[in-house]
């Protein structure tokens, strides 16, 4: 694969990964993606406040807190995959640890660059778990309302993500279409 063609934009990078591994089906097989990328993934019980971590040894190693809800574990893995795709050079020999991801916000500010990494990893994870293209297909012919709780719940279950994430993704899509 041509490295120069890899996008540094989190959403585009997620789309590239989905296309490259031909996994554009819901629910998106995040563990398969990690496996195909040669990443060692371990699900282990961790302190409640810790979601996951990533560090490099001979391979990249991702650890996911197995005590969290399965959908949250999928999100943690997708978020760490975002770090893998976008930030391994910056992480270097350190262990990058992720606590609870409170916001999917796209414009958090930071001088350290750590928050920027988190925002990017969240955007990557959002697109990976709920690809825009699949979401548009799912919503075709329906009335889109980001406050329709039954719709949110149904789609969250289909994509195996939290309702919070689905609400955010639908909101983002509406915004995108208005533009």
């Amino acid at each position: 694969m041509n490295r120069a063609r890899k996008s540094q934009d989190p959403k585009m990078r997620a789309q590239e990964v989905l296309a490259e591994l031909d996994v554009m089906r819901c629910p998106v097989a995040v563990d398969y993606i990690a496996q195909k990328k040669g990443i060692t993934v371990r699900f282990m019980p961790l302190e409640e406040g810790l979601s996951g971590m990533i560090f490099a040894k001979h391979t990249a190693i991702i650890i996911v807190n197995s005590l969290h809800h399965p959908n949250r574990q999928r999100f943690t893995l997708a978020h760490e995959l975002g770090h893998f795709e976008l930030h391994m050079k910056e992480i270097g020999a350190e262990v990058h640890v992720d606590k609870k991801f409170l916001a999917f916000a796209r414009d958090a500010k930071s001088s350290l660059g750590l928050d920027r990494k988190e925002v990017e990893a969240n955007r990557f994870a959002g697109e990976l778990l709920v690809p825009q293209q699949l979401l548009i297909q799912e919503l075709r012919g329906r009335v889109i309302d980001a406050e329709d709780e039954a719709l949110i719940a149904e789609l969250a279950d289909r994509f195996e993500v939290s309702r919070q994430m689905m609400t955010f993704r639908i909101g983002e899509l509406v915004e995108y279409r208005v533009r």
């Binding site: 810790l50 190693i61 262990v95």
Partner: protein, 113 residues
């Protein structure tokens, strides 16, 4: 608490019991079969005591071995020997857990598990 701290606490206990019995370091050394310098070093935590010496020390000081050992709450904590980065600050407990997990996985990897 670091490992060295554990040995200095052990040494403090040895000294307390020796003084309680009004013994000097040379007397304890003779009873245990060590040099006076060794006893002095044990008391300051500079020398690490093997288990068979622990039993001899306890006998010489007329106490149970447990009386010389620091309490479990005083045991050394995990040494954090990896560089950790996080957007949100980690508690000490969390940092220790990260270090532990990384240590376990790294040693698994080097054994080819």
């Amino acid at each position: 608490m670091q490992e060295s701290e554990l040995y200095s606490r052990f040494g403090q206990r040895v000294r307390q019991h020796r003084e309680r019995l009004n013994l000097n370091q040379a007397e304890v050394a003779r009873a245990v079969g060590l040099s006076r310098a060794s006893i002095a070093n044990i008391e300051t935590g500079r020398q690490r005591t093997p288990i068979h010496h622990l039993y001899r020390l306890a006998r010489a000081l007329r106490v149970d071995v447990h009386a010389l050992l620091p309490a479990p709450s005083e045991e050394p904590q995990t040494i954090i020997d990896c560089e950790i980065q996080s957007a949100v600050e980690l508690s000490k407990r969390e940092m220790e857990e990260v270090a532990k997990v990384v240590g376990v996985i790294t040693s698994d990897e080097s054994r080819g598990v």
